[in-house]
Subunit: 330 residues, 2 copies
């Protein structure tokens, strides 16, 4: 029996898939399933290619109730810029959760990862940030700085936004773009301490290996989402802050203790508490989140295969009856 496979390129995906409420909802659903058990999410398959100055990661997750499951392959080849190519590439393959048949190939070069990562930030902000956020702050000036603020603004429509980066010119540029995108007052802030002091919601989006957010900057009514650390060597948040916050939440404890901010906190000896809650348990209401407007909360996002399955399933649903992409009888 022949089946039809949908193939969609990055350019086509950028035209048709956007960071919106539906994308956030489907990623939230994946987190709830992940915390509820029964998700099958094997450890990341990781291959270091020293000879090619590259690496390849493969992530996947099967979520009961989702019609498909994705396998994502993310190659990073760091000599590519010398050839005029992007370092990061890759694709998601969507399989039927019932038959294992290939349903779609999304040649996204990381675009869908960008979307699902930002959507996770929105889930964190929705369930952990104070109800009223007047000012948000973002640390870092890359793609995720922009997307995280777009995502957060959908769930907490703040009026002011501060942008900090190590490179002031990039911060100015990022602020200008975000002002246009969100239609609000956005300024570059050279002093990260001031950025944190003035914000009720801060998202860190840097590849930092030394903390960029200090524990003494924490203040009542602050929520911080740290999404930059996804490797054992990275660390954005002062390890002490993880301990001192009223609530620390992991996207997936088994990942944050190895790759996220929790790893640094454990290593520094600052984490003596019990197993922390996961974002899905907060989102489902199984575990209490913020208890008062004065709480200090931190959410640690390392990125999960469950989010990949969620976004790929969502995109397939969006596009399967459209005329986007190429269809192959296989």
């Amino acid at each position: 029996m022949a089946s039809e496979i949908l193939i969609v390129t990055e350019a086509e995906l950028r035209q048709t898939v956007h960071l919106d409420e539906t994308a956030i909802a489907v990623v939230e659903e994946a987190f709830v399933a992940l915390a509820g058990g029964n998700v099958v999410m094997p450890p990341i398959l990781s291959m270091e290619l020293a000879e090619a100055n590259g690496e390849v990661d493969v992530k996947t997750a099967y979520i009961p109730g989702f019609e498909g499951f994705a396998i994502k392959v993310s190659p990073g080849f760091f000599d590519n810029p010398k050839l005029g190519l992007a370092s990061l590439n890759g694709l998601m393959i969507l399989f039927s959760a019932k038959t294992g048949l290939v349903q779609a190939l999304f040649l996204d070069n990381g675009y869908l990862t960008d979307i699902r990562t930002a959507a996770a930030g929105a889930v964190a902000a929705r369930h952990l940030a104070p109800e009223r956020v007047e000012t948000a702050g973002v640390m870092g000036t890359g793609v995720q700085a922009r997307l995280q603020m777009q995502a957060a603004h959908l769930v907490r429509p703040f009026e002011r936004l501060l942008v900090w980066g190590r490179d002031q010119a990039k911060a100015e540029h990022c602020a200008k773009e975000l002002a246009e995108l969100l239609g609000i007052d956005v300024r570059a802030e050279t002093n990260p301490e001031k950025l944190v002091a003035r914000s009720q919601l801060v998202v860190t989006t840097t590849p930092a290996r030394e903390p960029v957010l200090k524990s003494q900057w924490l203040h009542p009514g602050l929520h911080v989402t740290a999404m930059g650390s996804d490797q054992a060597g990275k660390n954005e948040i002062d390890p002490k802050a993880i301990f001192e916050a009223d609530l620390y939440v992991a996207d997936r404890v088994s990942q944050t203790e190895l790759l996220g901010e929790l790893r640094s906190a454990i290593e520094a000896g600052f984490w003596k508490k019990d197993t922390p809650p996961e974002l899905g348990a907060i989102a489902s209401g199984a575990v209490a989140g913020r208890r008062s407007e004065d709480d200090i909360t931190i959410c640690d996002l390392t990125g999960t295969g469950a989010q990949d399955t969620a976004i790929a399933t969502h995109v397939y649903f969006l596009l399967k009856d459209s005329d986007a992409g190429t269809r192959i009888e296989a």
Copy 2:
């Protein structure tokens, strides 16, 4: 910079890719590289989906000197036959070994795995079987029974072939097909002991969980390739035979000790020798293979990601300048 991705369906692959000398040569090259070190081959990523009565395996290997590396995804969904679908599906994705860009998607549903598995059998026969094979025997009557004999016949053009299977009708049918394919005398043999006694080369291709080839049947001048076991529960060859043969060779020791015949031999306490040699070391000449026409040799094939990279690279080279498949600018 846009790049072109070649997409080829199973039907197109069956028309254009065949089990031939070139396929065998490229798989042999992969084995030589594998035994020589520097190949990056992470453990298989395996996902059990109890709820869907399915499983998914992901294999990959990076081989220095090869222009690409493959990632193979093999879903097995065992309720599919009820829906009129094959249980086994899947695809290979070929990436540039230099840039990590996707070069090709082979929607092969296991066809290329069939080819590379049979090619490995030919590599084993070429380097381990006696120079002169008059009679070959195959145990099992499935796709690999056919392909293994076609592959073996390319390197040892035997004149007679015996086929044994638990189901006599299937053995007769398989014998008839092989007689047509090879143009030689092929007969179904009901007694497996006689099959082994009369053959100089035997390939076992069954999913057996109890040995189908007994140690007392071994005789001087016999080579056996066991390719059926690829899981911890499977076992085709009497564990004692692994110990008693003059030479036991693994495709990859780290796999055969967990998934192959070596596992059963270790478990039964029959393996007290040193680390056995790998097929690539024999093929390259680094380690001596058969020392005399009277030696008894056994080769244990569990299937490696290196073979997948080899066959995918070969197929890409074959098809990239042809008009086969669909091309997408991505």
